[in-house]
């Protein structure tokens, strides 16, 4: 029974239209995102201006490129996104975008955002599906490539991925902070009380509670509502309301628009066909010959595919719960926080007073962080222990150049989390420069959170 269901889920023939539409919509958003990034001058601000960066553990070899190289990387993203969107040399485009994007994101964890991770995950999946076999420039180029039917897995993997995202995002909201204390919305919503129409409701404590509960219910239920044919239209309206609301209220960049584009994958082939046909007057030759032509996964995929997919989704399922390996409050320590679809869950602010001691003279002095890192890097570092550790090592290395061997680096750090009020965050007696980063080891020098 289950085996049959699984086989149907993976290999039943289904129309390619949802995949083609997804490719076009998502590719367009990626293109806008990349151009926007360059246009805002962020390549310069984030990569060219800073002298130091905070690489991810194990990926220290991913280093910033020359300014020309960085702009090249982003130009590669624009080009790759265009190739995805139009379906021209599609697979090369997807690989190009993914490599450029992931490289840029790995340079500095300061800029880590859940939505960047989302992009890297979805584009990774796009590499493996034949999304260019319909309604694309590739089929104009080589009509023989055209297929109308694909195995169901090529579309279902995106639904699975989105399901994981929404449901983990929803589960992470099932806690007292979010549901009972309405944190951090209680702090964030009143700031918007002067916007037109909606603003006047936002200062009420009750509004924050309602928004919190609605957000949690939305995240947990939306995938099921989108999957069900009868609730789908209502569900997509909820998707629009939810994401547009977040776009109005919070500074979350392209995330709402990415989700609006991505969730269209839940719609039926019938719907997507109608849309594609409606817009195909732009390019009549795309309509020619819609006879049914099946796409067959390579026999390699048929054999290895299930296993590979299972591995991929197992990782996706496990990453968000790796926090269980660490003691303490996740939002406080942030051990296992990234790559786990925890979005907009905390209002966290901090400040650090770093002290360097010269072991030879015993002289202890304070560090002006801005001499080494940018304000943005400093802000992210000041609430994230793993970045403090990297920064301490950076200070030791920089002061070695200035003639201090084995400088001792200590930090007096104050952090507030979801309105807790600032309190000491790190054991200020510990020499951070002597501590080691590990993959799954708890940082014992983070002081425990007491509510």
């Amino acid at each position: 029974m289950t085996a049959i269901k699984l086989k149907k889920f993976l290999y039943s023939n289904t129309h390619i239209a949802p995949l083609a539409f997804f490719r076009i919509a998502f590719g367009a958003v990626l293109c806008i995102t990349s151009i926007r990034f360059i246009a805002h001058g962020w390549v310069k601000d984030f990569y060219t201006t800073p002298v130091f960066h905070f690489p991810f553990y194990g990926f220290e070899w991913v280093t910033v490129l020359s300014p020309a190289g960085m702009y090249g990387l982003y130009a590669g993203m624009v080009l790759g996104a265009l190739m995805i969107c139009t379906g021209l040399y599609y697979r090369i485009g997807a690989i190009l975008f993914w490599l450029c994007f992931v490289y840029a994101e790995m340079i500095d964890k300061t800029y880590y955002l859940n939505h960047y991770y989302l992009v890297s995950v979805l584009v990774f999946l796009l590499i493996f599906v034949p999304a260019n076999r319909y309604f694309s420039l590739d089929i104009l180029r080589k009509p023989g490539l055209k297929k109308t039917m694909v195995p169901a897995w090529t579309i279902n993997i995106f639904k699975c991925q989105l399901a994981i995202i929404y449901i983990y995002a929803g589960l992470s909201k099932v806690n007292a902070d979010w549901l009972i204390h309405a944190m951090p919305l209680q702090l964030w919503l009143p700031a918007n009380q002067f916007i037109p129409v909606l603003g006047k409701w936002l200062a009420f404590p009750a509004t924050a509670i309602i928004f919190s509960w609605c957000g949690m219910l939305f995240d947990l239920s939306i995938v099921f509502l989108l999957l069900n044919r009868r609730t789908r239209v209502v569900a997509y309206m909820l998707v629009i309301i939810f994401h547009v609301l977040t776009a109005i209220l919070f500074q979350i960049g392209m995330f709402p628009w990415i989700m609006l584009a991505a969730t269209t994958v839940f719609f039926s082939a019938h719907f997507h066909l109608r849309v594609l046909r409606a817009v195909s007057f732009l390019w009549p030759s795309l309509r020619r010959g819609d006879a049914e032509q099946g796409y067959h996964s390579s026999s390699f995929f048929k054999r290895a595919g299930v296993f590979l997919l299972a591995c991929y989704f197992l990782v996706q399922l496990l990453l968000p719960i790796r926090f269980l390996l660490f003691p303490g409050k996740l939002l406080w320590t942030e051990e296992g926080y990234r790559f786990s679809w925890r979005v907009m869950l905390m209002e966290k602010g901090g400040t650090t007073f770093f002290y360097v001691t010269d072991p030879a003279t015993g002289r202890r002095f304070e560090v002006n962080n801005r001499e080494f890192i940018t304000g943005y890097q400093e802000r992210m570092m000041e609430t994230q222990p793993d970045m403090m550790l990297q920064y301490a090592k950076l200070l030791q290395q920089e002061y070695r150049k200035k003639g201090i061997q084995n400088a001792k680096v200590q930090v007096e750090s104050y952090v507030t989390l979801n309105g807790s009020g600032s309190r000491l965050f790190i054991d200020s007696s510990v020499n951070l420069a002597a501590q080691k980063e590990t993959l799954f080891g708890h940082k014992k020098w983070i002081l425990p959170y007491h509510p």
């Binding site: 939505h115 009143p190 219910l217 209502v234 960049g253 304070e366 003639g403």
Partner: protein, 370 residues
């Protein structure tokens, strides 16, 4: 079964949306709720504090320029004294404007890192005067202009040598030109900034509500946290007191602000009072009202009480010292140390507690958000 689940879930979602709108309406008589779509704090701070501060600075720098002009026409001891007095008044006025390094001030370079770079570079100033060849607002001249340059030129070590620089010195003519040029530049920047604020920026400021990057509150709180944390705590107090720097001698009193005129503490106290005034909104709506509304706490005490108390504690510690600060750093280690400790506590309150309670991100770069 599956249909039932989805039907149930969609009913739940729909109910939630309905509750969202209906509940909100029930609360419309909440007394805490400002009725208008205007942020009273922005209106009050913009109109009654920032604008007034810039008006004062424009007036004081104009008066200073007039006093300097009178002095260079007939340099004598009494005209020097009045130029010095006008300088002190303008420098004090600047302390109530240094908190607003955004919008017009940023456009006009009326900023700490352009007009208040201390210690001033006396070598560049002397070289400029002897060569007569310089661009007063040039990028290489930041350490040789603004208030610190005037501080050096008008005071130097004692009144006699300051006077002789403009009378008997071989380069006296050039020195007078240089003095005027610095005063004129300050006057021009203050006037241009005031003009921009009274022109369109005041309404831009009032209308940019919210806390996203570019909102007035985000700009204001970021600017004042920088002005307090970096400018006051680090540069005015920490560095001269020897808290920073591996190789520096433990204390560098010559690095205080206003080293030559010796009014460092007076200026610093004025700056703290200006920050306090913004926080309290003078007598009207201020950041304090927002903090009170947020119900933020610190160790079980209302955050507003803690911030108000810490401003006062810091002022008590600063008032316990006496100018010149450069001398106090050497002679009153304990007193300056106490002030520095209390200054650090206020950094945490402003940068962490206050900003977080308002949902403002410090060092807020416009970015993609989460």
């Amino acid at each position: 079964m599956k249909h039932k689940t989805t039907a149930l879930l969609s009913a739940l979602a729909a109910a939630a949306i309905i509750i969202l709108f209906s509940c909100s309406k029930n609360n419309s008589d909440n007394p805490n709720q400002p009725a208008s779509a205007v942020d009273s704090a922005l209106v009050n701070i913009g109109t009654n504090i920032i604008l007034v501060s810039y008006q004062d600075l424009a007036a004081k720098t104009t008066a200073m320029d007039a006093a300097v002009t009178a002095f260079v026409q007939t340099p004598d001891a009494s005209k020097l004294a009045s130029a010095q007095a006008a300088f002190k008044a303008a420098y004090l006025s600047w302390q109530t404007c240094s908190e607003y390094e955004f919008g017009p001030a940023a456009d006009q370079s009326l900023a700490t890192n352009t007009i208040n770079v201390f210690p001033t570079d006396t070598a560049i100033i002397k070289n400029n005067i002897s060569s007569g060849n310089y661009t007063i607002d040039g990028i290489g001249n930041l350490k040789a202009q603004g208030f610190p340059a005037l501080d050096f030129l008008l005071f130097s070590t004692d009144n006699n040598s300051a006077l002789s620089r403009f009378t008997t010195d071989a380069a006296a003519t050039n020195a007078k030109k240089y003095l005027s040029a610095v005063a004129v530049s300050l006057k021009a920047k203050a006037a241009a900034t005031l003009a921009a604020w009274t022109g369109t920026y005041i309404s831009t400021f009032k209308n940019a509500t919210g806390v996203n990057a570019g909102s007035s509150l985000s700009l204001l709180v970021n600017a004042l946290v920088y002005d307090y944390d970096v400018v006051l705590k680090t540069y005015k107090l920490g560095i001269p007191f020897g808290k920073f720097g591996a190789t520096a001698v433990p204390q560098v009193p010559a690095k205080v602000e206003a080293y030559y005129s010796g009014i460092s503490l007076q200026l610093m106290i004025q700056q703290v009072k200006a920050l306090q005034n913004i926080y309290l909104g003078a007598t009207g709506y201020g950041l304090d009202d927002k903090i009170i509304a947020s119900k933020a706490q610190k160790n079980g005490v209302p955050l507003n009480d803690v911030i108000v108390a810490q401003f006062n504690t810091l002022l008590v510690k600063l008032n316990a010292l006496s100018d010149p600060l450069a001398a106090a750093i050497v002679s009153n280690n304990t007193g300056v140390g106490d002030a520095y400790t209390e200054a650090g506590k206020l950094v945490v309150l402003l940068k962490v507690d206050l900003s977080s309670a308002l949902g403002i991100k410090i060092s807020f770069q416009d970015d993609d958000g989460d």
